[in-house]
Structure formats: C-alpha cells, structure tokens
Amino acid sequence: MSVVTQSLPTEVGARVERSVADRAGVRRTMLEGARDITPMVIGVAPFGLAIGAAIGASSVGTAEGLASGPAIFAGAAQLSVIQMLDSGVTPAVIVLSALMINARLLLYSASLASWFRGSSLPQRLLLAIPVIDQLYFTCGPRFEQGDLDRRGRVAYYSGAASFLTSTWVATQAVAIVAGARVPESVGLHVAAPLALAGLLAKSLADGKAIAAAVCGGVVAVIGVGLPYSSAVLVATLCGVAAGTALDHAAARRGEGPRSRLDGAAVR
C-alpha cells in the first residue's frame, strides 16, 4: 500500500518504540494489525451478509446497493438508508437520519487522529476513510501499549483496515449478487445488533463506561420516536455526560486517584 511505503520523517524523542524502518518490518506490522482485527472481521461478516440480503429484498437497485457499502462504510447507517429508501422516505430526511447515526465517527476520528499527528495531510485524509467502531476498538488499545512508532502505527492501522473493509464489501456483494432469499426465521436481522453487542461487551472497561452505556441504551429506547434518528446522537451525548459526571463525582469523593478510573482513556 502506498500509504506505508512512502518515506516518513523519523520520530523525534521516541520512547522505547519498535523500529519498523524496513519493508519487512512494515509488512510484519501490517499482518499483525490484520491478525488482531480478525475476531472483529468474523463478527462483522454476518452483519455484512444481513445488509446484502436486506438490499436484495428491497426495491433499491443492485448497482446502488453495491455502491452503498463502500460509500457509507458504516453498517447501522447503511441499513437505515436502505430501509428508508425502500419505504419511500423523503431523501433529505434519510440523509439527515444517517448522519445523526454516524456523528459518533467524528469523535472516534478525534482520538484516532491523535496517533497520526505529524503525518502529511494526504496521508491523514487516507487514514480517515475507514474510521469505524471495529477499527477504533482494535487500534486504540494496541497503540496505547506505546511500542509502535508512527510509521508502525500507520502500518498496523492499514493492515487492520484493509482486512476489515475488504471483508465488509465482499460479504455484502456476495449476498446482493447471490440474491440470497433468507427466510425470516433464520434471524439474519439479529446479526446487526449481535455484532454490536459484542463490541459493547468489549468497551465496558470500568464503572464510568458502564454508566455511559446504560444511559446511552436507555435514552435510545425512550427516544425511539424522536425525528431523524436523533435518538442515537442524543443518547450518545447523554451517556458520555453521565459517565463523565460519575467520574467527577468519584474524584470529588476522593475514591482514590482519578487515574484508577481512567485506565482505558484515549489520548
């Protein structure tokens, strides 16, 4: 991939970081990224098949359906776009709803971007393309170990992203082209919430994360009727506020240092 083979300035003031200065090191680190994201990729494959089957069963055309995966590259939003197109919702409403669902990516990108400070703008624009939950969950913890320099992080991220994106697009394409007519009793529609439930289980590192998740889930259910899928964004913000408030309250009560609660904090 051109992203990783271009020459990058060497890291200044590096900690004990593993050198991936040569091609073999870059390739090894890319493979490490691909290997580490494998459970996520396997977890996302049924979700991709489910979306492909939903496209096949909808009135959305094959070409548009095939293009929607790589164009949006975010399953929950894509699924809502397909469902709303199929039921003839006004285009502006569909777009607004999907963007409400995807607003979280702005915040994922803020924490992922901090690992690539100093990279060239074109490279950062490329790295932004695959930003998504699974990649965030795989790369964040790995980068926090601190042994990869920036070039290593680019290689790791690219390896993980390539595997995830290619599988995502391929599973959808297979389901759309094969025109899979899956009976409802197979429960393919459960694949989407199940894939995300697995991620949720991985994200609950501490008490404040649990508080954020409980609040986010409850508000999303209460607000299901809110217009433009805004419940998802409102619920996310409520969850973040609840978790942060809990963290502050714990700090004020002097329940040990805040760093104890901040174990999973992102940079």
């Binding site: 164009a71 969950f137 419940a231 998802v232």
Partner: protein, 104 residues
Amino acid sequence: MNAWIVILAVGAGTYLFRAGMFVVLGRRSLPAWTATPMGLVAPAAVAALVASLLFTSGRQVGAVPVAELAAVAAGFLAVRYSGNVMHAFVAGMPVFWLLDAVVT
C-alpha cells in the same frame, strides 16, 4: 436516481465526520480534559446503536422483540466472559432460534 443522490450524500457527509478531526488535529492535540469524555463515546454510542436497532428494525414494530433481546443479552454475556467478539453469534443465534420457535 434519488437513491444515488442519497447514498452519495450520506457517504460524503460521513467522510467529513471521519476526516474532520484528522485535518484539525494534524499538529495540535486535544486538551487534557477531553480524555475522559472521549473514552466514553464508544460505550455510549454502541449501546445506543444496539438499542436503536433492536427497537426500530425488528419484525414487529412497536412490540417488544423478546427473542431478539434475549439473543443480544446472551451474545453480550458470552463476549463479556470470553473476551472474543465472535462468540456473540455462537451464543446469540441459538438463543434466537430457540425462542423464536417457542414464541411464534
């Protein structure tokens, strides 16, 4: 035609979300106080998405999706204990099939 415009508009808007902070944070870093809230975005957002998917794209809109809820709970617990996200399906799908057959 409308479908193309919608898909491309959603794709473009989503890319702006993704690229926004990569552009803004090219040299700068976020203030330290943002670390805690930023770390909470993932649990809050994913929980909201799961809840939203369960209650909006189920087959019986408006009804409580019992089999789906139980499947998701089983998948969640399996991953919580094994640490492997693949196990969400291993545990969740059989629960769905069983309850779906019993309930309907």
